[in-house]
Symmetry: C2
Subunit: 243 residues, 2 copies
DNA sequence: TGGCTCACTTGACCCAGATCAATGCCACTG
DNA sequence: CAGTGGCATTGATCTGGGTCAAGTGAGCCA
């Protein structure tokens, strides 16, 4: 029993039914036609992983691409002595996987429970070269990731600890609840542990904790069970993040 | 009088003659065929700018794309209170310009004297949609820039001042002299002022200066006229950068 | 039910790098 | 050729965030 689709979803980002994933989603695959999707369906498989699963190492992403159906994936880099930096967070419906040869080593790891729809690399590579619109989407997503990475460089290089934490919370708030750009009483689960947040912000666990406490005591946010955050006034948080 | 091309240059990165620029260069335009290049030539123009020229603001890059023929361009972001961060450096023969709508504000400014070959935006946009190989190259370059940005995030978030400066010098050494990955007596002009280096590394001018002095006194580098750097043993520098 | 572990918080102290301030060193220019 | 202004270096001091260490609290398993 399908309801009539609203007119405003008839744009290029319109969700399509991915047979393989048995789920509607936007993202790169939205560029494929019905027959192409059908073709892809037979090769795709669905998978759910627990938090902390290496996605790059277990041949998941070296031989495959994947759509994130739900959850958060962290992209990390590590120095020889163990210092770690999270260089990106991927949310649904982002596309995971690096076309061409990468010039640097990055690991992908699930931060939360993650549901993936994975495709064999060869199939997608062929589709990319055959479907200009797919390549266009991929370029689009890559440019967005580049913008995000460069935006985050400002946070890493020039913001104080307080601003970093506020920026992080603002980032999560807007990504978990995309519609709430400047809403009141936004509420969400933090997809990252304090250690992950520290690795994302270039801080230590202790500093992250202290700054969260500060925000809590200043009534900018409230926290339950360490992970559930409520932001009464997102505008105010954004201001602290000095966006 | 053409000499027989060597076999090993017959790859996809083969330099092509860009009529417009009256210069051979690699890069994104290398994907274009002879007729396409000729077509582009009539629309392209060559330009040389002094250091410190805004390239995004003067309608250079909002209405155009450009190939960098020589020199270094810095991509910067600025916070409301004036704090600045350089989020990328572009060297010849990089392609300058952002397809689609950008999700964040970035400024492009020449760090050195820069020679550009600029194209009207509309012409390139059409060529991109008509020439899959061109779009492929663009995706390729964008992915490389993404890798670089993410690599630099580790430097910004997790390295010490000493490591940051060493990483910077290593980056410049390898980009100015691409062939010298691990050579001896590498020598080059720094394309950035101390202030720019500080903005790239998320440090202050003073800290950059002190770290350079330290490297000089440790005989890792030698400096003439503030800008000319010689690295007797690049391997040793790379080690200090803890690449 | 009691002891573990894991994630987080809090406190005390310290240091790398920021800040403030002075000086040096050209290259211009009037 | 003194005067000026843009860069860079160097020194003295301060402080934000790191380090080390202890404590809390919620599961979870035996």
């Amino acid at each position: 029993m399908m309801s009539e689709p609203r007119a405003d979803v008839h744009n290029s980002d319109m969700p399509v039914l991915c047979q393989a994933c048995e789920a509607r989603h936007r993202g790169v695959c939205g560029a494929l036609s019905g027959t192409e999707l059908l073709q892809l369906s037979s090769k795709a498989s669905r998978r759910e992983v627990v938090p902390g699963t290496e996605l790059a190492a277990d041949a998941e992403l070296t031989s495959s691409y994947a759509n994130i159906l739900s959850g958060v994936v962290k992209l990390t880099k590590i120095l020889a002595d163990g210092r770690q930096q999270i260089v990106g967070l991927q949310f649904a419906p982002d596309f995971l996987g690096r076309p061409f040869k990468a010039t640097s080593e990055t690991n992908a790891e699930s931060a939360t429970t993650v549901r993936l729809c994975t495709f064999p690399r060869a199939v997608i590579d062929r589709m990319i070269s055959e479907t200009p619109e797919l390549e266009r989407r991929l370029l689009q997503q890559t440019l967005n990731e580049l913008d995000e990475a460069r935006g985050w460089m400002v946070t890493l290089g020039r913001k104080t600890a307080a601003e970093k934490v506020a920026s992080f919370l603002y980032l999560i708030a807007t990504h978990i609840n995309p519609e709430s750009e400047s809403a009141t009483n936004v509420s969400f689960e933090l997809p990252l542990t304090r250690a992950d947040i520290a690795d994302f912000l270039g801080l230590t666990i202790e500093t992250v904790s202290r700054q969260m406490t500060k925000l809590r005591k200043a009534d900018v946010i409230s926290i339950e069970n360490n992970r559930h955050v409520t932001v009464p006034d997102l505008e105010r948080l954004a201001h602290r993040a000095s966006i």
